[in-house]
Amino acid sequence: MKRYLLTAIGIGITGAYLFPLYWMYATALKDDAEIVQYPPTLVPQRPFWNVGEVFFGRHMPSYLWNSLVVAVGVTALVIVLGTGCAYVLGRARGRWVDALLFFVLMMQVLPSSLVVTPLFVGFNLAGLLGTPRLAVILAQTAKALPFYVVICRASFAGVPRDLEEAALVDGHSRLAAFFHIAVPLARNGILVAAVLVFLQSFGEYVFARSMISDDGLQTATVGLSAFLGPNTSDWHGIMTYSAIYVTPILIIFVLLQRRIVAGLTAGAIK
């Protein structure tokens, strides 16, 4: 009986926590008059839903595609660059590892809004602004890489060293043992870190905003910011756009959550 009481309390807490999410959907379904009504109606009285108008009127397919390109690019690059480093840092111990970890963390210090200026200057010199989505991928990778390394590092630390040594004795080179033993055994942690990097990058705003000038290559968050400008507080539009933007991620996340939570609770992060 106590267990069901806990479930009830749990539902209450979860409901309260997710209220902002609900409010996003509720506002998306209200018309302009109902939105400004006070006291606000908790349930939309005259629900209407203009997904189509916002979706196509705001060029969302193109924006979402670009966001996807950026997010996939960043995730791939981060995995390629960061997995090995996370492995080494998870295995080794000592002063230089501390120093490295410190350095890696330091690279995450500044908000994107502050690093974007020097990066812009550098990318301009390197001619990277001609391929703006690549420029955003490179910049965002630098931002996500430290986070990925820190998260993945712990899951590699959780793979018993013996297993790799057994693989060495069995005939693997260290490189092969890394790929065939360490990586598969740390895959839950890698998966989770990669998903988080993907989501972070999908929602990236500052770099895309500054480096992409062609609207056809622009990402979804920047598209959303057009609603949030000083002269356009179209709450219905903002919330509809947000809902369209968030819902697919939410569905994927709910479908994958068991796996993600399992990956994390299996000792992915320490």
Binding site: R3, G10, I13, Y17, P20, L21, T27, Y38, P39, P40, L81, G84, C85, Y87, V88, L101, F102, F103, L105, V109, L110, P111, S112, S113, L114, V115, P118, V121, G122, N124, L125, T141, A142, V149, A157, V159, R161, S173, R174, L175, A176, L199, F202, Y205, L224, L228, W235, M239, S242, Y245, L250, F253, V254, Q257, R258, V261, L264, T265, G267, I269
Partner: protein
């Protein structure tokens, strides 16, 4: 580098019946170093390191450089800029809002990190219990984490609106606070409005990491403590907290860094106002750079922030020493 034909790969020597006189002094070839030796470690680390130096460290160094120069939006691409020494630091630190911004940053970070930690810990402990749906609900909490900051800022600005926000309405209906609170336009509350949104945003991450840490504590420790007569509070104090030390250290450091990076919420909710009452270092830096085009001033604040974060990172690295390698 070319591997000469004579330096045959070690594997081949196996066929030869005669011992190779040079074998004992033979070194690993360059190729094998990367496959088998420390070279592999070096290579893997360098991959990340070089990338971070080029795309992470270089911009930071450039920021430091700019903080020592006279530079604005228009001289960004021009490298022959006059050096002004620490004039920018003097200028920034003597501005009337400097002290206020520093205080707000401290309050924002301390309050955010503390509340995220306490609420995250409470939720982690709650969902740690075995009841139907605990796993799914914990998963749903994480859903909030995936929301872009911009969207979250928009939603909270809308919910906390003074005249027709739903939060004021709920407070009135529940008689908790019958009069309207102008969350974002009252200097007494504006910083807290952003802090509330930030706490909301940070709870899932805290809860998740703490859940993981809790799951790693062996059950028999609790059982032993129970046999010793320790009550729930005592068990939490004497087992949970010490066992979570590494997790807590890592979590606090990461939270501080994430909180210092929080920019979207300020942009979306208060713009640092009214009259800087919710302005924090990272937003102020951005304002100087992009609203008044004073890149030097913005860079100076950024450099000061780095100095603070170095301290935090040291804390994190220390905390990882408590971990054990499996």
């Amino acid at each position: 580098m070319k591997i000469s034909g004579q330096t045959s790969r070690p594997g081949r020597i196996a066929v030869s019946a005669l011992p190779d006189p040079t074998a004992s002094t033979m070194r690993l070839s360059v190729f094998d170093t990367f496959r088998d030796g420390r070279g592999l470690d070096a290579l893997l680390v360098l991959l990340t390191l070089v990338y971070l130096i080029v795309f992470g460290l270089a911009p930071i160094l450039y920021t430091v450089l700019m903080s020592l120069q006279q530079v604005d939006m228009f001289t960004l691409g021009d490298f022959s800029r006059p050096f002004v020494g620490f004039a920018n630091y003097v200028d920034v630190l003597t501005r009337p809002e400097a002290g206020m911004v520093a205080r707000h940053t401290l309050v924002f970070v301390a309050l955010s990190v503390a509340c995220q930690l306490v609420l995250g810990f409470a939720l982690a402990l709650f969902f740690q219990q075995d009841f139907p749906g605990a796993g799914i609900m914990r998963g749903l909490f994480l859903a909030a984490w995936i929301m872009p900051g911009l969207v979250v800022g928009g939603i909270w600005r809308w919910m906390l609106a003074g005249d027709n926000g739903v939060v004021n309405s709920l407070l009135a209906v529940t008689h908790l606070h019958p009069t309207k609170i102008f969350w974002m336009s009252d200097p007494a509350t504006s910083l807290y409005a952003v802090t509330i949104a930030n706490i909301w945003l940070g709870i899932p991450f805290n809860m998740l990491l703490l859940s993981v840490g809790l799951a790693a504590i062996p059950k028999d420790l609790y059982e032993a403590a129970q046999l010793d007569g320790a009550g729930p509070v005592e068990r939490f104090r004497s087992i949970t907290l010490p066992m979570m030390r590494a997790t807590l250290g890592a979590l606090v450091s990461l939270s501080v860094i994430f909180t210092l990076q929080q920019f979207d919420l300020f942009a979306g909710m208060t713009q640092g106002g009214p009259s800087n009452s919710s302005n924090v270092a990272q937003f102020w830096s951005w304002q100087l750079s992009f609203q008044t085009y004073d890149i030097a001033g913005g860079s100076t604040i950024a450099v000061l922030m780095i100095a603070v974060v170095i301290g935090v990172a040291t804390l994190y690295v220390r905390s990882t020493r408590h971990e054990q390698i499996g």
